[in-house]
């Protein structure tokens, strides 16, 4: 029997994996994948809470909004990554050092 706890644990794990990828990866594409994991962790939460706690379809609806936004964000992020690869030749946030962050 799958309960709410299962969903929340999976979503927490997804979030932690995503955060781990964001913090440790040296490649912008991998970081983007980590961000996707974080967003989908939230989506899973929305859907699960909607079904088990709240009722109605509000949560699922929010998840649909988030999926659309994630696609838009990924499109812009990939375009920017492509742009910087053409100019600098690397897509590691640590190696782009013209601005001394």
């Amino acid at each position: 029997m799958i309960t709410l706890t299962h969903y929340v644990v999976v979503s927490a794990l997804l979030f932690v994996f995503g955060m781990f990828a964001v913090l440790t990866r040296r490649n912008a594409i991998a970081i983007l994948m980590g961000i996707e994991l974080i967003l989908n962790a939230a989506n899973l939460n929305f859907a699960a809470f909607s079904k088990y706690v709240v009722g109605g379809v509000q949560g699922q609806m929010i998840a649909v909004f988030v999926i659309v936004l994630a696609a838009a964000e990924a499109a812009v992020a990939l375009a920017i990554i492509l742009d910087i690869y053409q100019k600098v030749g690397t897509i590691s946030p640590d190696e782009t050092r013209e601005l001394k962050g």
Binding site: A28, D83, L99
Partner: protein, 505 residues
């Protein structure tokens, strides 16, 4: 007040709807405009902002809850929208003739600015976290592209790159926080949430609030989410930098205010999540980090970027004070400060931008500013006034902004019970010490301009149109403190959660 349905909401949503339709219209007009007629696109964009601003100003904002409670048109939203639209309009005005943005890309540039502005409108009028998140994303995604708009400069691409990475992580974490709050409260309505969260587990609630703050904290460049801001500000085209440092920050504060005042301000909630203390500590670190980092800067644009982090820290102090029994005084102080900040910070950035043009100084570095008073007395004096105002020296507007903000925090601390049991007078003392630190680096620029002798003596002339824009920013910086005061910025009270909302579902 019961939420209105979609049709009857529209008449209260005319300013925002006008802005959004203009933004779409500009994309279409830009497709057909060629060569000289590209000017039409710029003029149309500024007209769009003027229309949206005028409608926002004249339409009564009485706190209607629109679209089944998704957005609120209240005095708070109105004031924030005026700051944002004002900033966008002035920015577009100066970017009409900036050489930084290529001629053929101007149309997209203007359209993206309008979309970002509309995203910020959504943020400050959101009364539902879903709309808040959509607003954050719309504003952010447009800003990512704007930051990378210098097609042939790698530093601009790098700015966009860092912005998009930091930004998407922050908004993703924010969304996860929203999903946790949704699970605990069963709703994403901000006001309703505050009421229902009282029984939630304190630890889970604290984690969710911290995650939620990641999103807005990144918008207002609060420590520890500030790392992007100096790089993005330095690498972006200067009009975009000015826009991000004022409008984006104002929108971030608008949303923060809504979340913490309307949503998390209930007393039962304060007992389980001590967010005033959390925000006070962040505020202390943010202003100190911003000021200390600004001290070593030799690039004036970067110096202003760090100082804008410090100003975010001062404003965060006002947000922390919202945890007191009277939230209207800190709210008014924050609004007044942002209105002042709009003029003085935009002014300082635009002078830097104008001087950086090749026909003038051609540089943003401090040594180039030496002896400016001999080359262009007017620009040197105007810039000095903007910087003095940013320090908070009387009688300039920045002084009044700081005075009211500090006073509201002290007042909130000294009433019975303080701010959720804390006394934040130490924070105000720290802010004063920080203002003294800021004196050092702002004054270094003033000294270079007024006292040092430069190698070059050739006069620098300001463009007449630009001089007019500067005058529009200069007069309020000089006089705002005398003609208005913080009481003019008092807006309606936070909504009573239980009374104002119909039972959902």
């Amino acid at each position: 007040m019961t939420p209105l349905d979609n049709l009857s909401s529209l008449q209260h949503y005319i300013p925002d709807a006008a802005l959004a339709s203009f933004a779409v219209l500009i994309v279409i007009v830009d497709l057909f405009a060629r060569g000289r007629s590209k000017v039409v696109v710029g003029v149309l964009s500024i007209a769009a902002l003027a229309v949206a601003g005028a409608l926002t100003l004249w339409m009564p904002h009485t706190g209607e809850r629109l679209f089944y409670g998704m957005a609120r048109q209240d005095g708070l939203a109105q004031t924030f929208k005026l700051v944002i639209v004002g900033c966008a309009a002035v920015t577009l005005l100066v970017s009409l003739r900036t050489q930084e943005v290529a001629e053929r890309l101007r149309g997209e540039f203007f359209a993206l600015m309008l979309f970002a502005t509309y995203g910020m409108f959504l943020m400050v009028s959101a009364s539902n976290l879903l709309i808040a998140y959509l607003g954050v994303e719309l504003a952010s995604i447009s800003s990512y592209i704007l930051a990378g708009f210098l097609a042939n400069q790698s530093r601009s691409s790098e700015a966009a790159f860092k912005y998009v990475i930091y930004g998407s992580v922050a908004s993703g974490v924010m969304l996860f926080g929203v999903s946790l709050l949704y699970g605990m409260a069963g709703t994403t309505d901000i006001a309703l949430m505050g009421e229902r969260l009282a029984s939630a587990h304190p630890l889970a609630l604290t984690i969710a609030v911290v995650f939620l703050f990641a999103g807005v904290g990144y918008k207002i460049a609060s420590v520890p989410f500030h790392m992007w801001s100096p790089d993005v500000y330095e690498g972006s085209p200067l009009p975009v930098t000015a826009f991000l440092s004022v409008a984006s920050k104002a929108a971030g504060f608008g949303l923060t205010l809504r979340i913490f005042r309307d949503g998390l301000g209930a007393e039962e909630l304060l007992a389980s999540v001590d967010w005033p203390l959390f925000l006070a500590l962040l505020s202390a670190v943010t202003m100190t980090v911003g000021n200390l980092a600004a001290m070593g800067q030799k690039n004036v644009k970067r110096l202003l970027a760090y100082s804008s982090i410090a100003h975010g820290g001062y404003l965060l102090m006002g947000i922390a004070a919202l945890g007191s029994s009277d939230s209207s005084a800190p709210t008014a102080a924050i609004l007044f400060y942002l209105a002042v900040y709009l003029f003085m910070n935009l002014g300082a950035f635009f002078v830097v931008m104008h001087l950086a043009e090749p026909s003038r100084l051609g540089s943003e570095e401090m040594p180039a500013y030496r002896g400016l008073i001999r080359r262009s007395p007017a620009l040197a004096i105007v810039m000095s006034v903007f910087l003095f105002s940013l320090i908070g020296l009387p009688p300039f507007a920045g002084f009044w902004g700081k005075l009211y903000l500090f006073k509201s925090v002290v007042d909130a601390s000294l009433v019975e019970g303080g701010v959720n049991g804390h006394n934040f007078v130490w924070l105000v003392l720290l802010a004063m010490a920080n203002s003294a630190i800021s004196l050092y680096y702002y004054f270094a620029v003033v000294k270079a301009m007024l006292l040092d002798r430069g190698e070059e003596e050739t006069p620098v002339k300001a463009h007449p149109a630009f001089a007019l824009v500067l005058l529009i920013l200069f007069l309020p910086t000089l006089l705002l403190g005398f003609f208005t005061n913080v009481d003019d910025f008092r807006v309606d009270e936070a909504p009573e959660a239980s009374a104002s909302i119909m039972a959902e579902e």
